[in-house]
Symmetry: D2
Subunit: 345 residues, 4 copies
Amino acid sequence: MIISMRPHATKQEVDYVCERIGEFGYKVHSIVGEERVVIGVVGVGDVTQCLESLEATPGVEKAMRISAPYKFVSKEFRQDRTRIRVGRAEIGGDSFITMAGPCSVESEKQIMETAEAVAEAGATILRGGAFKPRTSPYDFQGMEGAGLKLLAKAREATGLAIVTEVMSDSDVDLVAEYADILQIGARNMQNFALLKKLGRCGRPVMLKRGLSATIKELLMSAEYVVAHGNSDVMLCERGIRTFETATRNTCDISAVPVLNELTHLPVILDPSHAVGKRSLVPPIARAAVAVGADGMIVEVHPCPEKAVSDGAQSLTIEGFRKMMHELEGYIALWKESRQEELVLA
Amino acid sequence: MIISMRPHATKQEVDYVCERIGEFGYKVHSIVGEERVVIGVVGVGDVTQCLESLEATPGVEKAMRISAPYKFVSKEFRQDRTRIRVGRAEIGGDSFITMAGPCSVESEKQIMETAEAVAEAGATILRGGAFKPRTSPYDFQGMEGAGLKLLAKAREATGLAIVTEVMSDSDVDLVAEYADILQIGARNMQNFALLKKLGRCGRPVMLKRGLSATIKELLMSAEYVVAHGNSDVMLCERGIRTFETATRNTCDISAVPVLNELTHLPVILDPSHAVGKRSLVPPIARAAVAVGADGMIVEVHPCPEKAVSDGAQSLTIEGFRKMMHELEGYIALWKESRQEELVLA
Amino acid sequence: MIISMRPHATKQEVDYVCERIGEFGYKVHSIVGEERVVIGVVGVGDVTQCLESLEATPGVEKAMRISAPYKFVSKEFRQDRTRIRVGRAEIGGDSFITMAGPCSVESEKQIMETAEAVAEAGATILRGGAFKPRTSPYDFQGMEGAGLKLLAKAREATGLAIVTEVMSDSDVDLVAEYADILQIGARNMQNFALLKKLGRCGRPVMLKRGLSATIKELLMSAEYVVAHGNSDVMLCERGIRTFETATRNTCDISAVPVLNELTHLPVILDPSHAVGKRSLVPPIARAAVAVGADGMIVEVHPCPEKAVSDGAQSLTIEGFRKMMHELEGYIALWKESRQEELVLA
Amino acid sequence: MIISMRPHATKQEVDYVCERIGEFGYKVHSIVGEERVVIGVVGVGDVTQCLESLEATPGVEKAMRISAPYKFVSKEFRQDRTRIRVGRAEIGGDSFITMAGPCSVESEKQIMETAEAVAEAGATILRGGAFKPRTSPYDFQGMEGAGLKLLAKAREATGLAIVTEVMSDSDVDLVAEYADILQIGARNMQNFALLKKLGRCGRPVMLKRGLSATIKELLMSAEYVVAHGNSDVMLCERGIRTFETATRNTCDISAVPVLNELTHLPVILDPSHAVGKRSLVPPIARAAVAVGADGMIVEVHPCPEKAVSDGAQSLTIEGFRKMMHELEGYIALWKESRQEELVLA
């Protein structure tokens, strides 16, 4: 920790801060500066508690931590990538993973048709919402249990693994019964009751970044799940909220390499929610591969204009096929660089 | 609804859109423009569904709703202010309401001492967290049930009503047993499972605005609670996340008059979380009164530097007293303008 | 300065950083931490240069400055408020200052009528744009020289001082001939050629905060003007750009007390641009007084619906009068607290 | 235009709005809705003026334009891509363009060495700042005229074309004498005096997006240059300002395909400023190629740790070479899709 005192803080204030540091079990390593005093602190203890306390102490301007606030998810804790196997897919491994499917499960016909089509085009994981977080209470809220059953049926028919959202700790057990990956939506990234429950759900978790969550906060939420017992966590960049309205969200493409530097967890990109518009999905999918994501999750619907939700950003089946074909060259380059990485390690 | 077609959309595309509008039970009222066609739609039905569907239809550029997406919380639904009575306070009524207390309930001594002091200085509602949403899994997570009991004890001793946070639908019943107002934190503003449960909790609800939630989304979340059966909802502006880092958040002071134009629900301002720094709380509290909020919620701690959370933004008891004294003139002006409003109505 | 090394930086890397610190004329004061090394640096020199250089050096994670990057505008440089006298107004002094007038100067009739009305209602400074920064090249660009002459005429008739915008260093001399205060618009806050020229313009300057400028950057731009020879600078908060679209911008009300802690320069609030909507101007004006701004700048037009620009946010003359009347109580409280401040100092 | 009235606007208010529409030379095409009236407007005239005026008119809630506010830069004005030839590079054509070089021109040795190295590695345009926009008045402000001369010398030696920044309309003539492309920095994107001057500078212009400028505002600024006589404009995405601090800015990668849908002007991506950190530049450069940008501009310095500015984000010469080599496969795919585009057109 580094404690920066206000300019002209009194000697008494500095002394009191040093005393408090001692009370927290830390050691004052050194005191720098004349006009403006800065205190270096070393040792091991409850950093957050100590920082918050010092920030509230007279004469202190800022108390900063130097070390990262997360442990298990950090690259320092584990050097090689976490690989998560679900069905025939391995996320974080040697293949770029495609998850595809409709925003909402709507009917057996819809989900079966989509599942077969996306499997054929190269996806290995089927997405589809049974519990839907909707801004308005008057909008379609999902097929819930019935939707989960349809997803399971689609898995049986196609061999695709299933990723689907869970919105409350009360539903975790139910969803875990059917899904291969439990998805946490952007609005629930800091639903800590839910995160804790996921630590004991026995399934891999895909954690979507909150609309205005920093990368550090995303990692802290992943740390919740891991610290509560579940280390199979993948992260998902799905666009953040900014002032720009030309796209639904702003795709923070740099989050992928930033996360690759900070964590060993796999990173998935969601071009559909990032841009919110069908025609922009393929270029962002190309960028996702090029930037080094471990996979992507894309919305596909047999008839987007009749979708109950997110139609505008859903690819048609034909559009998805075309995109997957177009991505082949990029995915070949992706594989090359993964292999080089392994050789170098 | 207004449907704006892409420039040079074909006649066929326009015809198909009109056909779809009919299928949703709406009526095409008129078609404007030559080079760029705009379609006016009238009638009553599932607007969201229709908008989403049309946005996904070939040739359509944008589908916009004209009416507000919320009903019960709108000023059009109810002209006069909603008044919510808890203990000796009436929120939305003729008095500016002060809620005050520590971030977290830490011990009996701490909460009793604070409760007595804030009551004496003019607060009528005691705040204090028993369930704490913390970014890190390693931080203090609250006293939970034991904390609720201490709050109840403080209520008994002082007559203050209690506002405290609930973080999961699983905890609503427990918290409702002790609290007078259930607070929904910023990170849970779109925890829809929780919002639905609050509709049947039998207690007033204070809904805090999410870090990056628009005012419209805040109203939609309030609509969830009201539509599920509970019309005693108050809204709380607590700062939004922006690029500015000089303050913890950016206090969107204009949200107060904007909400006063759109809704009949009371609006509370939280200067402590908005700014994150003790010395900035009093000027923002003055602004809260001047701008016409119905009340404020402020963090106060007998010894902020020893607080387990939010010490830097907590007022000391002495600081709170001083601020309340300073606010008297502003609150007198506030009352005058409320009385004028009643006379005019 | 504090230099934080990457975890596991080599001893060689640390040594090299220390060597570089020496080359910049600084002294390594102490080295903290084992696993992650942090270096404390003292001395006087070109901080920015040194920081940038170190951030580019292998093994370094972050190089942070502790001292503020501005000097002349800081509270440490000067304790008491800067007072700027123009006409019969003193900004930063014992009176809350009101600047009012139309967005654009449109005609003699319009500016004279407005000037007389706002003077009568209590304004002491007249605003009015002769050079207009417009997003579109097809919009009205201002009356330029002719507009300046009309402003001078209005000054003569009413005794109001004049504040008007200058958009290019090439126009500074011309505008300075007519205006009492040169206004720098939000889009030009970091037009450094212009800022340098203002250092030698011989007139007070009102510097508006950029749409996405931090408070620190605003102070750095003020520092440009002062460092180039002109210490009569006032700052203006006019709303920042965020994701919220219910208002034109988001009024960062906390910027006022933050600036009051950091600088001795006067701070003006612009409710009109902050909110963009007439009905929201009066509550924000009340908040401006309550929060402790030195004054406000408000748009007023005799017939807003016929204004060539910003009609939606302009008050009518009647509306302005009503607002000024309503503010009286708040301004009385403002004066009281300024007097207390002087007594305490 | 679409004019949406407030709920329960009176018939008189609607009639007056219709009258005003007529005064602006427009025609009311139709009036939709009962409870909430919406007016469709057709015709040709001064849209902005009419919109602003109507928004200020009693009873009006919102006045929206349907058509884009720009003309010359729109895809509707010109279908095929604008191609701009400078030196041996054609921007917007059949090759992905690389502009590379130091942030600032510092010395003859530095610029010559960099120029030769980047030319050899595949760049065709040399970047280098002679006039430097710096947040602090105490930072290095550029070599100005002397820097321009060194750039010209580097061009002579290597055949690279030169792109360099101009910060004021007063300097346009001087810079245009030496540069092949005049760069407008993010902070000057809405320096309208400068934009107007660029319309008559006789050189291609590269317009960088402002830190908080929307895509629409970027296009409007380009429209300024084109409308004032210069159609050789390229746009540059260089990251926008958001709440995320893990990167210097947030690279809005979607801006590239969004711009490709809206305009015929070439789009360049600046990975260096977008991320602000050397190690993140190569993945973002790959994304730039994959997403379909026309080129990129990258900072390269022979010794980044001794650079006078932006060292942390500058690639070393060796790092640049490696990146260019790695990009070859991606650029081959880029060329394929450009050729397909031509075949399809």
